[in-house]
């Protein structure tokens, strides 16, 4: 059996790194995306294979058993997840990376306690980021599943608390640099505990509507944790991959924040939707006039009379798992010669690109699914807009009402079309807790009920015609 020396090992790691880059660039279009994923798998296989062949590595039952067991669990998770549960899966997978980074960090410290200050700092950093990622992702997972409430938990003096924990984390590093193994381990455990609490506290304070940002931020953290472990282990494969993932998550967070016209600090520390929005919002809904209801039958009539229809899906569609029904609706209308397109707001759903995945699952062709910038100018030429389970992303107040907490957030200009039909369970406000004047527009019609039921009803009405 060949055993690779450290220098020889660098070659497969480099190849793996390049494959990962090709994997990400493959995702730039739908046509090349599947190839991109394959590149990623090959890269991972090469990196793992090469590590198995590393000189001095003892292949024992522990190691093999862990790989096989973990692989089986992962495969089972991936095979069973429903597409509406994708945000939860992604969040929990992030937590695994964080946990692994913590474990690798502690393990490395145990085996090489005194390899100098730089190494110690690397361990410290890797463990800290890993711990925040781990607990933060677990909380995000619980929130996305609904096990924890989506409303932000805002402790009094929470900014101070964060600051104290941050100072403690940095402060404990000083004794750690000169500590003996047992002292050092104690310090490391204390720090891990603090950063774990910090991860929990940070994510608890963030509202459900900001989850796309949080999930992508945690994605970014998991990358930085891996990169820190790479520094610690002097392993380029980890550094390259961690950096790729870290920047990818950072970009996604940036895109999401821009789509909400908010800064990353505002999302992470803002506690949005409570201090500013909560007081003014639902109360204001009462005095805006009357909403006009429409029944499924008339809605079907309007749709058949229309020439151009745009569907705006939101998280409500995901919750009601209505995407298949929506696709049926689309097909019927397209067969009748009605042009149907989808307008996707960047923060629709709980994950970047969430709506696209759901629509793809239902079989909606991706070329009729358009991004906000591509389709926003077409609303004035549209006969009917169906807003299915979306609220804040079609709120005209974001453009006109300077007192609105979502003022300045780019929104889909659904109200410019001839008619807007809003599928909604009731008159509750959206995640941002902001009243939506769209509901009271003259050309707006409300179709109340669970989106799954109302869309199904609409489909059967259309079929009868």
């Amino acid at each position: 059996m060949i055993a690779l020396t450290a220098n020889q090992l660098a070659v497969p790691y480099l190849i793996a790194g390049v494959l990962f880059i090709m994997s990400l660039s493959g995702l730039s279009t739908q046509e090349t995306a599947r190839r991109g994923n394959v590149f990623g798998i090959i890269g991972m296989a090469i990196a793992m294979g090469a590590t198995f062949l590393a000189s001095g590595l003892e292949i024992n039952a522990l190691l093999m058993g862990a790989v096989v067991l973990g692989g089986a669990v992962g495969a089972a998770l991936a095979a069973r997840v429903v597409m509406t549960g994708m945000p939860q899966l992604v969040a929990i997978l992030h937590s695994f990376v964080g946990l692994a980074a913590v474990l690798v960090g502690i393990s490395t410290y145990m085996s090489h306690p005194d390899s100098g200050a730089v190494h110690a700092i690397e361990v410290w950093l890797g463990v800290a980021i890993g711990a925040i990622t781990f607990t933060g992702s677990v909380v995000a997972w619980a929130k996305l599943r609904g096990s924890l409430s989506g409303t932000p938990l805002l402790l009094p003096g929470r900014h101070l608390l964060n600051l104290v924990m941050l100072v403690a984390t940095v402060g404990l590093l000083v004794p750690f640099l000169d500590a003996s193994l047992s002292e050092g381990l104690t310090l490391l455990y204390i720090m891990t505990a603090i950063t774990c609490v910090m991860g929990i506290h940070l994510v608890l304070a963030i509202g459900g509507a900001d989850m796309p940002v949080v999930v992508s931020l945690l994605n970014s953290y998991s990358g930085w944790a891996a990169a820190a472990s790479g520094f610690m282990l002097n392993n380029n494969a980890l550094i390259i991959t961690g950096a790729l993932v870290g920047s990818s998550g950072a970009i996604l967070s940036f895109i999401m924040c821009k789509a909400m016209n908010r800064s990353i600090w505002n999302v992470v520390f803002g506690g949005f939707g409570t201090d500013s929005g909560g007081a003014s919002a639902p109360a204001a809904a009462g005095d805006q006039g009357e909403v006009t209801e429409i029944d499924s039958d008339s809605c079907a009539e309007e749709l058949l009379a229309a020439k151009r229809v745009i569907i705006v899906p939101g998280y409500g569609m995901a919750v009601a798992r209505a995407q298949h029904m929506v696709n049926d609706l689309t097909r019927i209308l397209r067969d009748r010669g009605v042009e149907v397109r989808y307008a996707i707001h960047p923060v629709a759903g709980r994950l970047p690109g969430h709506m696209n995945v759901l629509l793809a699952e239902a079989g909606v062709p991706y070329d009729v699914v358009l991004e906000m910038d591509e389709i926003n100018d077409d609303f004035p030429k549209t006969d009917v807009v169906l807003v299915i389970g979306a609220n804040d992303i079609v709120n005209p107040g974001a453009q006109t009402d300077t007192s609105s907490p979502i003022y300045g957030m780019p929104v889909l200009e659904a109200w410019k079309s001839s008619m807007v039909v809003i599928f909604k369970r009731g008159m509750g406000a959206g995640y941002a807790g902001v009243a939506n004047p769209l509901f009271f527009h003259d050309n707006s019609r409300m179709l109340f009920g669970n989106a799954g039921d109302t869309v199904a009803q609409l489909v059967s009405n259309l079929r009868e015609r």
């Binding site: 999930v215 980890l238 696209n356 453009q399």
Partner: protein, 535 residues
């Protein structure tokens, strides 16, 4: 300047139009007043304005001499202005050319390209003739362009005629008695008439689409709120001549065009065709089959009826019904709006004569491009067609200057500047790395190398991920998730290290376990998701 009697006072004569059904007249009391102000004397045949509801008394009040005898009017006038080209008067069988005084001037429509014999007969009278239809389409001459004025009216009237024969509203309405759909109107040819038709149909509330071979028309069509129909065709053919009119297109183009019309015919309620190629028979654009495919109750208005028609069923001056579809081929649309037409026509003429008059003297000035190009005869000498210009005339603007759509309401300013600007980040990273490198001693060379790799990888990631399409952000996340499972390598190095100690090995093994969940789960779920994306 001493004026001779002849030079000083020229008499403009306005005869009654003799063409059957022609109700327009070349001057209204208003324009007569302007002519007199320019220094002309004006005579008008009694009853000339009758068709346009303009009484003799009104002309007399404006200063014109009302003449009973048509022959006397022609004989006494220095300049005859009229609408239609001279023809045989059905009342007494005389050719109007015979009435024209020898050496007299005539200003009217002539169509010299197709009216050779007429030009000869006029030449025999040693006359000087200006053809209003030959006035060049240059900006300065727009005020004299009777073709535009008349086309404008014809386009408007075409929609009125269509509405008259169409059994429904033009505008969509939601009433207590149910909902009506807006009428669908297609206009072929977006010249002046086409644009006027678009504006009129839009004004009535219809949904309008329009087609023109000249891509330049697109903006004008859209400015009026109509949809511009485009062909899937390599657009190397700009369908515009130097005169701003449509030219004859290639066969492939015409085939594509006809397919478009056939498709549209099934959808629309009203078709208005205005396609004319100067000096030729009008192209057949709406075949009988297309008309047959239209919904019963639909209307086709063919503005090219006089030159053969754009529609297969068109009969000149008739409204015919074909399978429930009314095909209107009226050629007198402007006469159906005679008062307005006469006013615009008369004003165009006043503008022309005003340009020709300097210091109270009306004369032929060959330096004037408008006169040079529109003059057919000078003292009996044929001067048409004029010598071509050395340079192509400036691109004419044939469309009314429709106001551009108002700019969209100002959007709230975004918090951050738009667009990813990676330059500052890159510079910061480079400067930061350089500072660290300089500050470290040689023993840290391994760390420096790692940092180099790290910064480069960040940069590559930054570059690559911006290209990821928004629709794939979830798969991007799950795949980055999977590859961040590379941390498994760290776990393996620890678990497989016999010197690490038992606890360290176990921790490593747990790390492997969770990281492999990640790798397997991430890649597989990405695969699943990507398999769903289909076109």
């Amino acid at each position: 300047m001493v004026k001779t009697a002849l030079e000083a006072v020229m008499r403009v004569g306005i005869p009654t139009e003799v063409h059957p059904g022609e109700r327009r007249v070349a001057a209204t009391p208003d324009t007569v007043g302007k002519l007199i102000k320019l220094g002309f004397e004006v005579s008008i045949q009694s009853g000339a304005g009758e068709g346009a509801k303009l009484a003799d008394a009104a002309y007399a009040e404006a200063g014109a001499e009302v003449v009973q005898d048509v022959n006397a009017l022609w004989a006494e006038s220095d300049i005859i202005i009229k609408v239609r080209s001279p023809e045989t008067d059905p009342a007494d069988g005389t050719d109007e050319c015979e009435r024209l005084r020898e050496g007299g001037w005539l200003i009217s429509m002539i169509q010299p390209a197709t009216n050779g014999p007429l030009v000869e007969r006029l030449a025999a009278r040693k006359s000087t003739v200006i053809a209003l239809d030959q006035i060049p389409r240059i900006s300065r001459a727009q005020k004299m362009d009777v073709l535009s004025s008349m086309a404008n009216i014809a386009g408007y009237r075409a929609i009125i005629e269509a509405a008259n024969h169409f059994g429904s509203f033009f505008a969509g309405q939601i009433t207590a008695a149910g909902r009506t759909r807006p009428a669908q109107v297609m206009v072929i040819g977006a010249g002046v008439a086409g644009l006027a038709a678009i504006a009129a149909a839009r004004g009535l509330g219809a949904e309008v689409s329009a087609f023109d071979v000249r891509l330049a028309a697109k903006e004008q069509v859209e400015s009026l709120g109509a949809r511009f129909l485009e062909l899937e065709f390599p657009a190397d053919e700009g369908g515009e001549t130097s005169g701003g009119y449509a030219k004859i297109m290639s066969k492939e183009f015409i085939d594509a065009e006809m397919a478009l019309f056939a498709e549209q015919a099934r959808k629309v309620d009203i078709i208005v065709t205005t396609a004319l190629i100067p000096g030729r028979k009008a192209p057949l654009l709406i075949t009988k089959e297309m008309v047959d495919s239209m919904k019963p109750g639909s209307v086709v208005v063919d503005l090219a009826a006089e030159q053969g028609g754009n529609c297969g069923y068109t009969e000149c001056d008739q409204a015919v019904e074909a399978g429930g579809v009314t095909v209107i081929g009226y050629t007198d649309l402007t006469s159906r709006l005679a008062t307005q037409s006469s006013q615009l026509f008369g004003t165009n003429l006043v503008n022309l004569l005003s340009d020709m008059t300097t210091d109270g003297v009306c004369a032929i000035d060959l330096e004037d491009e408008v006169v040079r190009k529109s003059m057919i005869l000078r003292d009996g000498e044929v001067t048409w067609p004029p010598a071509p210009d050395p340079e192509k005339a400036a691109a004419p603007s044939t469309a009314p200057d429709a106001a551009k759509p108002a700019s969209p309401a100002q959007k709230p300013a975004p918090v951050e500047d738009s667009g990813p600007s990676s330059m500052p980040m890159v510079l910061t990273a480079l400067v930061g790395a350089a500072a660290i490198y300089v500050g470290l001693d040689e023993s840290m060379s391994i760390f420096v190398q790692q940092l180099t790799v790290f910064v480069l990888a960040c940069f590559v990631g930054w570059q690559v991920v911006w290209n990821v399409t928004a629709a794939l952000h979830t798969p991007l996340m799950s795949v980055t998730n999977a590859i961040s499972g590379i941390i498994i390598v760290g776990g393996m190095l620890q678990a497989g290290n016999p010197d690490a100690g038992e606890l360290a090995q176990i921790l490593g093994a747990v790390a492997i376990l969770v990281a492999s969940i990640n790798i397997a789960g991430g890649f597989l779920v990405t695969q699943r998701m990507l398999a769903m994306f289909r076109k």
